[in-house]
């Protein structure tokens, strides 16, 4: 895996300090449009299709949550 989730997060919000957050959405590091951009990047990078009903805040609240989502779709 040449691209990592933290790489993609930095691509979407370069100024955000994701390392210091327990919940990216609650800490206002990702808003709804950021999540959509992230979905687009993840789909390109990992060759998966994220179903619309999985595009919910909980699935993008942390690196672990995002990795769990991606792995479930492989």
């Amino acid at each position: 895996m040449s691209v990592s989730i933290p790489d993609l997060l930095k691509l979407i919000r370069p100024e955000a300090n994701f390392e210091c957050s327990d919940n990216f959405v609650e800490d206002d590091l990702l808003d709804s449009l950021d999540i959509i951009l992230l979905v687009n990047e993840i789909e390109s990078a990992f060759g998966v299709k994220i179903p619309g009903e999985q595009v919910i805040a909980n699935n993008f609240s942390s690196v672990d949550a995002i990795e769990k989502l991606v792995n479930s779709l492989k």
Partner: protein
């Protein structure tokens, strides 16, 4: 709730678009968002151009202009309108209803019904259902349905997530008695989700004051006041992706049809990403679900479905009949669908205001 109608048909559709066009990337240039992010959003969501009214244009202005055009071109004569339904979230006044403003401006006959409905992105479906119910009356032969919103006036110009996407428009749909085909409708509502799309201040619950006009940062560099529209994008997205596929499969099943019988899925147009995900979930080919309205005209709320009809499907609708599945979803939260044959229409046109 399922409803069924017959002896009703759509005869004419007119779309009224403001002449002023804005560019998404130019609008985003006013914010401190990186250009690369804006370009990605434009690509993924389909944001590009949008039409908005001047700051002093009201809903009735667009509606009167459109109806006068229909009278001038003899599509319908004023005395033929037995009922005028206006669906809007941006009325000219609290009192009187905007339908009465329009009736008065155009000097329509007094022996008629004027009715306002407050609805958002499901407004075209709800308006049609109301029209079909009115046509069940012996004394009503033709209904003019006006869908109109000038929501750009209620969105903060400093709200970077909402302001650059909102469009304004009006449509006028003439519905009349006639036609043998069954029309199927389905509506579901969930008022517990009403805060997902709301203008918090300005009504009786929280009247507009100096305080409600003060603009605040929402934490994501979107600056808006309580007087402005606010949307919980994630909640609305999830609602649509979870609920709409079921709504559509239920109505198709209720009508004893299959997906293959539907010629086109004409849905509300929030953005391309949401519609692509919806089509994928429903296993509908993207070619059967137009999703290009937001990139050409912005999200014009309750007018998006007639916008699809007048821009993507006009040629076909004038020539022949087809089986169409319409769906609107949003404010309320409301989800509503119609399964009906449309066409050949008498007219299906676009004019600029």
């Amino acid at each position: 709730m399922f409803l069924k109608f017959s002896n009703c048909s759509i005869r004419d559709v007119l779309l009224v678009l403001p002449v002023v066009e804005h560019s998404y990337l130019e609008d985003m240039g006013r914010f401190d968002a990186p250009l690369s992010r804006s370009k990605k959003l434009a690509d993924v969501m389909g944001y590009d151009k949008r039409r908005i009214v001047s700051p002093d244009t009201c809903s009735s202005d667009l509606a009167v202009f459109g109806l006068q055009h229909l009278f001038d071109t003899k599509v319908i004569l004023p005395h033929e309108i037995d009922a005028l339904i206006v669906v809007t979230q941006t009325p000219d006044h609290f009192i009187p209803p905007t339908s009465f403003v329009i009736q008065g401006e155009l000097k329509l006959k007094r022996d008629m019904i004027c009715l306002d409905l407050v609805q958002g992105c499901a407004g075209f479906i709800l308006g049609l259902i109301q029209a079909f119910m009115l046509l069940g009356q012996q004394s009503i032969d033709k209904v003019a349905l006006v869908n109109v919103d000038v929501l750009s006036r209620k969105v903060s110009s400093r709200d970077r997530n909402s302001f650059p996407l909102v469009g304004d428009a009006a449509s006028i749909t003439i519905i009349e008695k006639g036609g043998n085909e069954k029309i199927w409708a389905s509506i579901k509502v969930d008022g517990t989700g009403r805060d997902a799309l709301i203008i918090p201040a300005g009504g009786m619950r929280l009247p507009s004051t100096i305080e409600t006009s003060v603009v605040h940062d929402d934490g994501n560099s979107n600056h808006r006041a309580l007087d402005h529209l606010v949307m919980d994008g994630s909640a609305v997205f999830n609602f649509v992706q979870t609920e709409i596929p079921l709504l559509i499969s239920e109505i198709i099943s209720q009508a004893d049809l299959t997906d293959a019988d539907v010629d086109a899925y004409v849905f509300h147009q929030p953005n391309r990403f949401m519609l692509e995900k919806l089509a994928d979930k429903m296993k509908v080919p993207h070619s059967k679900m137009p999703m290009n309205v937001v990139e050409r005209f912005g999200n014009n709320s309750g007018v998006t479905i007639p916008t699809v009809l007048a821009t993507n499907l006009a040629e076909s609708l004038i020539k022949k009949s087809g089986q169409y599945c319409l769906a609107g979803f949003g404010v309320g939260l409301t989800q509503a669908s119609l399964l009906m044959r449309l066409g050949p229409l008498n007219s299906c046109n676009i004019i600029e205001f």
